[in-house]
Assembly symmetry: C2
């Protein structure tokens, strides 16, 4: 059992050092006595650990606080730009990246249009994006966090499979680590999104949270007990490739009738295009070949019959799949992020109804399905947060 | 974050005490120096903690070991009957219970036939069973562990819902605690089964394990990171009540077309009975009203056409539901327990094929679905194990 591993002195020291760093990070400024009170550690231990953190540049002294009788105490803070972190998002039509400080404040943002590129060319764009972000500041870099669709071998940073980029067994983590000589963390984009939503979402944080990201593809990130759960092969949350229609449409993964083929934005746009050719009553019937996400969203908002049918079908399929997830995990907070949220509350209400009707009522009745609260930077921030958690034991928080 | 709670001295002491107890428990006999080496604790700390454990009767001195130069060391062991634990299983046609020592050795077994009883009468049988087990030995009792189908509020031991027993919001934990004045733990039977399978299954133990229990009902127990995952409402693993057939057969839960209505032993027997009336070519057509589990198993083994169709249909539905679970959790080890295992490898092969064909191949290809290795006592032992883990921090292990 994990809880019964050796409680050696070194482990206790490393644990306590992270505890002190976190205590400073969670408050704007704090004295050594405050830390001792908050952690239960002795003054001597706190002084030792703080000295070490000051030595590494992570913590700095910032003057004196108000005296409470004796000598006014020296105040400490985490030096926000002691380290900077890069986070990039490899989903969608463009790669986007951020360089942030230890508070998640954006110092530099960059983007590279994918324009249909995949394979080696897409890899070139990633490196080009990282080059810009790396050069954008002289401050010490903690590392590069990368969020990408697909199944990632997180230990080595190898992308086992990413359909949209035509990558298979690409050693992305190793390539990036060698180029920049700095730590790298490659993670699944939905998993990164879940971590960001958990970190930057409204307080109080739930123990458990599932974030479902729906855009071109569908994936979930699962937070259990306050930590990202990645599964035995780092593929936890790959719900987009569960079969929901027997002998259905072919999927990018090679399967048939996967959830992605009926409930993703890609599926909705594709189906609208297909049906619009035979449905003269719909606004979408004018120039069906040019139907894109924006046109379907607009038609759905105007209660166009064809758009309504296609989008509601997709919502039903998603709701049924989420019911299975809710029945399995009994996680009460489910948040939806990604471009699908453009369909708004009419779409969401159908998803909620299907979840209620397709899982045990005692469990489904306690489940709350909402839109996530994070913005478009969610994956890039989550990727940076994953890197920061791994390297410093800190949860990136503003 | 959980990892950042206060690392106080008391916590360290309690942690180290459990560590010492576990170290003694995991070896047949051990000296104080062995413990110090194995744990990294100082000799002084070990002596203090051992003295405390001897005082509580949990650990005892058992003579001297071989000398390695100096004085022969005193050997310690966990006194197996220092405490005894009761575990009961409230699933099936009869309630069964065990009184075991701290090694899980059965000291006394008892049973009460349910004979269709439910509600208050079923509760009376539980107490009668516990009375017999409580009286069966004068040794100090650590507590009562109860495993029951349904959704349990594990903190209070309240059964929120158990269809087969017609219980709703029954404060079983409180009733039992008051009657016997000893700790009690009420848990879901599939969750208890998972813990027992994890504990008594073959080494090496996987980090993550899902045990699916299929008899009259269907439920799963989920072990993540070596610990039982129960979900926000203790309902994790309630996969039996996810809808798999739209507008399908009515289910005990009030829903329609739940997995239980198509893939459980109850569903198989019911469907065989129904179809046998119109299927004169089958051995089951002789006296359809008397069809039971044993007759269906025998007919399936003899490759009876009707039995084969019914059982294979059920296997397909289960496999598809497990594909969704595998896609969500990416847990590589799935073990099936319960009376369904009587259908053997022909049934299992279909389940495996459906899992492979209905989840992302990269994930499904790594997944191993097998029958569990534990016997009929799995739920009662698991219930005892849950109690023991909660009270002593020990994982019941032989």
């Amino acid at each position: 059992m994990r809880t019964l591993e050796k409680a050696t002195h070194q482990q206790t020291r490393a644990y306590n050092s992270q505890l002190v760093l976190r205590t400073v990070y969670d408050r704007s400024t704090v004295s050594r006595s405050d830390i001792a009170r908050a952690t239960g550690l002795t003054r001597t231990s706190v002084s030792d650990l703080v000295a070490e953190l000051i030595g590494s540049g992570l913590v700095e002294e910032v003057g004196r606080g108000p005296s409470t009788g004796g000598k006014a105490p020296i105040l400490l803070q985490v030096a926000p730009r002691a380290r900077e972190v890069i986070g990039v998002d490899l989903d969608g039509e463009a790669f986007t990246g951020l360089r942030v400080d230890l508070r998640g404040r954006v110092l530099h943002a960059a983007e590279r249009s994918l324009a249909g590129a995949d394979g080696r060319h897409a890899l070139g764009l990633v490196l080009d994006l990282l080059d810009e972000l790396t050069r954008s500041s002289p401050a010490p870099l903690l590392g590069n966090g990368i969020g990408t669709p697909g199944v990632i071998e997180a230990t080595t940073g190898t992308v086992r499979w990413a359909a949209n980029l035509d990558w298979a067994d690409l050693p992305l983590g190793r390539l990036v680590a060698e180029r920049y000589e700095t730590p790298v963390n490659v993670g699944n984009d939905s998993q990164a999104a879940a971590l960001a939503e958990y970190t930057f979402g409204a307080a109080p944080r739930p123990d458990n949270l599932v974030v479902v990201k729906i855009g071109q593809g569908i994936g979930a990130g699962i937070i259990l007990g306050g930590r990202l759960y990645q599964g035995d092969g780092f593929g936890a949350g790959e719900i987009g490739h569960t079969t929901v229609v027997e002998a259905g449409e072919p999927c990018r993964c090679g399967g048939l009738g996967c959830l992605e083929t009926v409930a993703s934005m890609r599926a909705i746009v594709g189906r609208a295009r297909h049906l619009a050719q035979h449905h003269s009553g719909s606004a979408l019937a004018v120039d069906p070949a040019s139907i894109d996400e924006a046109r379907v969203v607009a038609a759905f908002d105007e209660r166009d019959q064809l758009a309504t049918m296609v989008v509601e079908d997709a919502a039903r399929q998603l709701g049924r799949a989420l019911a299975a997830l809710v029945g399995t995990l009994n996680v009460r907070q489910i948040r939806i992020v990604g471009s699908i949220t453009r369909f708004g509350d009419r779409w969401l209400e159908i998803v909620r109804r299907e979840v209620r009707e397709h899982a045990l009522s005692l469990i489904a009745g306690d489940t709350v399905v909402t839109f996530g609260r994070s913005g478009e930077e969610i994956v890039a921030l989550g990727a940076a947060a994953l890197l920061m958690t791994r390297e410093l034991g800190l949860s990136l928080a503003r």
